[in-house]
Amino acid sequence: MSHSDAVLHLRGESIFVDDIVVTPEMLHAFPLVSTIAHGLIKNIDFQAAQALEGVVAIFTAANIAGENQIGNASVGEELLASREVLYVGQPVAIMVAKTPELAKQAAALCQVEYQILEAIFNARIADNKGLHIAPPRTFAVGNVDNAWQDCAVIVEGQTESGAQEHVYFETQIALAYPLENGGLKLLSATQSPSFTQKIIARVLNKPMHLVEVDVLRLGGGFGGKEEQATMWATLAALAADKTQQPVKLALSRSEDMSFTGKRHPYSADFKIGLNAQGKILAYQVKFYQNAGATADLSLAILERTLFHAGGSYFIPNLKATAVSCQTHLPSNTAFRGFGAPQAMFVMEAAIFAAAEKMGLDASVIQQQNLLSEGDYFYYGMKAENARAKASWQQLQQRLTGQQQAIAEFNCTHRLEKKALALMPLCFGIAFTATFLNQASALVHIYTDGSVSISCGAVEMGQGVKNKLIAVAARVLSIAENRIKIESTNTTRIANMSPTAASNGSDLNGQAVLIACQQLLASLKKVAAEALNVTDIDAIRIQQERVYVKDVATDLTWSQLIGKAYMTRTSLSAQAFYATPDIYFDRSKESGNPFAYHVYGCAAVEVTLDCLRGRYQVDKVRIVHDGGQSLDLKVDIGQIEGALVQGLGWLTSEEIIFDDSGHLKTNDLSQYKIPDIYAAPEIEIEFLNSDNPAAVLNSKAVGEPPLMYAIAVYFALAKAVQAFNPDWQTVYDAPFTPEKVLLALYRKI
């Protein structure tokens, strides 16, 4: 029987796209990319590249038979720049050669003449110039303008949060094989096989059924392959279609970092008003999102920013406005959290600033304003099974005496300061584009009793395969090693949504569940006939054996499947799932956009070396509302991993472009993701809770825990304050050792 992915990974036997053995006929593609941030292409001299031995073909926008558009919804996202380049690293032509080295060499030999235009890299400057991806949107409840007069304390401020590079370990890659009849087969490292299929069909002017996209697994995605794997797959497809030879396109780490988008940097202005006790009466925020050159997923991300502007709090008067600003950087894109971390950072900064002004610890304000059961979110949804307070309280039990111990430590240590900050979490689960909340599954049972499952979920390390296997094994009551999850393939599953938004196992798990239930119903009929039982409801399958009225029979799973086949019973089922009861009215900015919310709370403790500005995250304690886990090991790994990835965003991961829009932090020696030393001790407790809104009472887990890490910023700020009371708190993430040291020694 089959091994789990983890076993294959540990043996180095799992196959990623770059591990597929290619024949010598395989051609290699590499893009010629813009070296300027904004300008018009005046002329490209391909002569030297064309003359290079081993170069097979060069294609530009002029060679595209269909539409030169790879955008999801909006236009203006060209596969190959036809006239105007919008960022450094934008493909303008594709070199096809016999080796990857030759393709790169060819690109280097091309001479492009540009007419240089003004380039903007900052969201607020873009906003000033009216460079918006779309008009601003506002979510509001109550009336902030009237509320300010009732506030005892009003604080205003500005925040910045930085970009974050995905650093999925497997870089962008695709293999394209020409098939008969004008068809193409793509092996692509994408989170969105159907979207990739659709775009390739659009660009090559083919019906979608001629384009097959297959995804075995990804070496990490984190959102970076939701929209941005498409370009590379489409370029490979274009080259394969034109040359009628298989083509491989793979980016190196520094190319990937330089050419692709990142988590959106945000700048924001906030104003918060509270009564004398710390109850938040009004909160107003404006977000400036740095979208980069094109829309990509920026507007969907902006929308989630608006949905999470209020954090885990109930605020009676709230007004959140957000605008997506066009700059001349690679298009920023989805990244775990999808605009929510950026929103929550501002909310927490506002609370921190208010607490400072009131002479309170921020936790005093946080605690008073947590969402309660039945509260309405400012976008019209009612909070049900709200566990903000329950998580907070359960966490408090583990923090007894901790603040006191820290205060004592700080009294006795001049050169070291400790601090602890809390982060309550509330994260909505569903694609906020309601139509995406659909999935289908195809389940086969073979005559030997082994099971094959196809669905729209892409495995990228989040353990979705484990969870789908758990669902099927539980419904069919068979051993997990009888079940295999197939590659994600557009010929087996049509029109699948991206594996994103944390709900890959929610959506696909439900579809698998329904398919398995259908099969189970047929099998019970077969068993009833075989056992001469009239009451089908008396039949049960448990641990691969048929039971009648709780009495074991001799009929085993394998025999039952054999009988089903011999009696010409279908052993395949296809099922469809659409999340019920979700909708959102954008004309009113109100509705019920989420299936449910994930809650939790974290306490992050840091120690700051005040001499050197270095710090260590010592310990993170978490209470997480995880529902009934389908796979506890997977969920713990997701929580720990998301947290540490979030810590990276807020501490050591700093994206730096030079003045001309070239990425300076373009490899792993310059861009520092957390290593094993940076990972703190993490203690996770789960709230004992059910979740009727998701498959088998489970809860989505991929993104939410990343936001626990936001507390690290405020823990560091408190530690800095403990050393330097003169420091005027700024909210500018990441809080690098540089910023920390400068803050420690900043005088008024």
């Binding site: 497997e170 020696s669 310059q670 520092k672 957390p674 290593d675 094993i676 040291l741």
Partner: protein, 468 residues
């Protein structure tokens, strides 16, 4: 002619590879041998996904180290046992793999083979079971899914399961424990039969020691060039108060040197801040100096020991140069064509040595310093007899702060003296703003590190509060 005919044992079988000298092992393994368990994720030696074990006879004993195959030239593989993840697999998961699995240490899986290799290397080399050292052994392996907790749980479990006794025959021990496959038992005699490769000396060849920076900076050039691999001759000796370190000594050998650990009590911890285990296995002291990066950790360390370099020309003539004179301008060094660094030496003052090395970077470990610095003091009572202070990241070269040192000489230790030294140091530096920090930050950081040196070395003579 830049081809080599390298004979070595790849996992269980002997192979002869006729490849470019400068082809890196990762490309050979993946592209020519189709062993795709070693992953390619950075090609700068930063992530460890391509880790392999390199086994070879050192002083008559077969020693294995984990190295980054993306920076390992095939020229260095001749006569060795090259072990990829495939060469560690047995029919069932081995105990290391099982522990990582059981503790939830696998997510996307791209880094997993590299972790298994690094963990195996720890078992091969560790003297005693020690969690900190086990963590350090895998600290050159990054996991972007950030499954470090699962990995740490696995490390803890493995140490409990396999308390490493200082076994004489670790290899045999690990085979019995099924951490290594059986075929390892026969590797040593098989390696002994591989004849030594005579490479014709070529004066135009690019000299490569560990190659851990050259193969990051210029892989294409090296793949197409004639290389001269510098012979490994690792010696750390103390004679008549002179400590001499041969240039080809690797940073890992340095880190583990009992002599240096006895001279400098914090030495091991300080060395852990420099690169990672697989890089330290390859990177040499001489290479770090010849590379002449303005933040070269070894340069900063030894500048503060007033080290001398022994340079040797092709015809064997040697000359001596002070390390502080060796660095001329940005990446320019006092090294003639064909000349190479033979050794570094410094005089060892009487114990205990007052020496401090400081390094601050964006990420505390495995990162390039924003600023690094070292200070050596020799006191007579409370008066400074000799002071050597160095700083990296604050000028175009690794800097010996001559004026500050001159000022300190003969001064009685006091807060005022330290403050004045800090001020003089500021006049000697000219940091630039780059991705490792703004000029303002680097100035402040050097101030802090100088204060840190003094507070660390002479806590009883100084008032921290006043110095800050």
């Amino acid at each position: 002619m830049n081809k080599i005919s390298a004979t070595f044992i790849l996992n269980h079988r002997q192979v002869t590879a006729k490849v470019a000298l400068g082809m890196v092992a990762l490309d050979y393994i993946r592209n020519l041998q189709k062993l795709t368990g070693s992953k390619q994720a950075c090609r700068t030696g930063d992530c460890g996904a391509c880790s392999v074990l390199l086994g070879r006879h050192e002083k008559g004993k077969l020693i294995y180290h984990a190295v980054n195959s993306c920076l390992l030239p095939m020229a260095a593989v001749h006569g060795c046992h090259l072990v990829t993840i495939e060469g560690l697999n047995t029919a069932e998961l081995n105990p290391i793999q099982q522990a990582v699995l059981d503790n939830g240490g696998v997510q996307c899986g791209f880094c997993s083979p590299g972790f298994v290799v690094a963990m195996t290397a720890y078992f091969l080399n560790a003297q005693t079971a020690n969690l900190d050292e086990f963590v350090d052994a895998v600290a050159g392996n990054l996991c972007r899914c950030s499954g470090y907790m699962g990995i740490k749980r696995a490390l803890r479990q493995l140490l409990q399961q396999y308390p490493l006794n200082n076994s004489e025959n670790r290899l045999q021990d690990l085979i019995e424990r099924q951490i290594l496959p059986d075929y390892f038992v026969a590797i040593a005699p098989r390696l002994a039969e591989i004849p030594i490769l005579k490479t014709p000396s070529n004066h135009d060849a690019i000299m490569v020691a560990g190659g851990t920076d050259l193969f990051v900076q210029r892989p294409q050039l090296l793949a197409a060039s004639q290389l001269k691999l510098l012979e490994s001759n690792q010696e750390i000796t103390l004679t008549q108060q002179q400590c001499r370190i041969t240039a080809s000594t690797t940073l890992e050998t340095l880190k583990n040197s009992p002599l240096l650990q006895s001279l400098f009590p914090q030495f091991k911890k300080e060395m852990e801040m420099i690169a990672t285990t697989p890089i330290r296995q390859r990177a040499t002291v001489g290479g770090n100096l010849a590379n002449a990066s303005p933040i070269a950790d070894m340069a900063i360390f030894f500048l503060a020991l007033a080290a001398q370099l022994e340079l040797r020309s092709l015809n064997g003539e040697t000359r001596s140069v002070r390390l502080q004179d060796f660095f001329q301008t940005y990446k320019q060094i006092d090294l003639q064509a064909g000349e190479q660094i033979a050794a570094l030496s410094f005089s060892c003052p009487p114990q205990p040595i007052l020496f401090s090395f400081e390094k601050v970077s964006k990420r505390q470990y495995s990162d390039i310093a924003s600023v690094n610095s070292a200070l050596f003091l020799e006191l007579e009572q409370e008066t400074i007899k000799t002071a050597h202070l160095s700083a990296g990241g604050v000028a175009a070269i690794p800097l010996y702060l001559a004026k500050t040192c001159a000022y300190l000489q003969g001064k009685a230790i006091s807060n005022e003296v330290v403050k004045q030294a800090v001020n003089i140091a500021q006049t000697e530096i000219s940091p630039i703003s780059d991705q490792r920090g703004s000029a303002e930050y680097k100035r402040l950081l050097l101030r802090q590190l100088i204060i840190a040196h003094f507070l660390k070395l002479l806590p009883d003579l100084l008032n921290a509060e006043d110095l800050l």
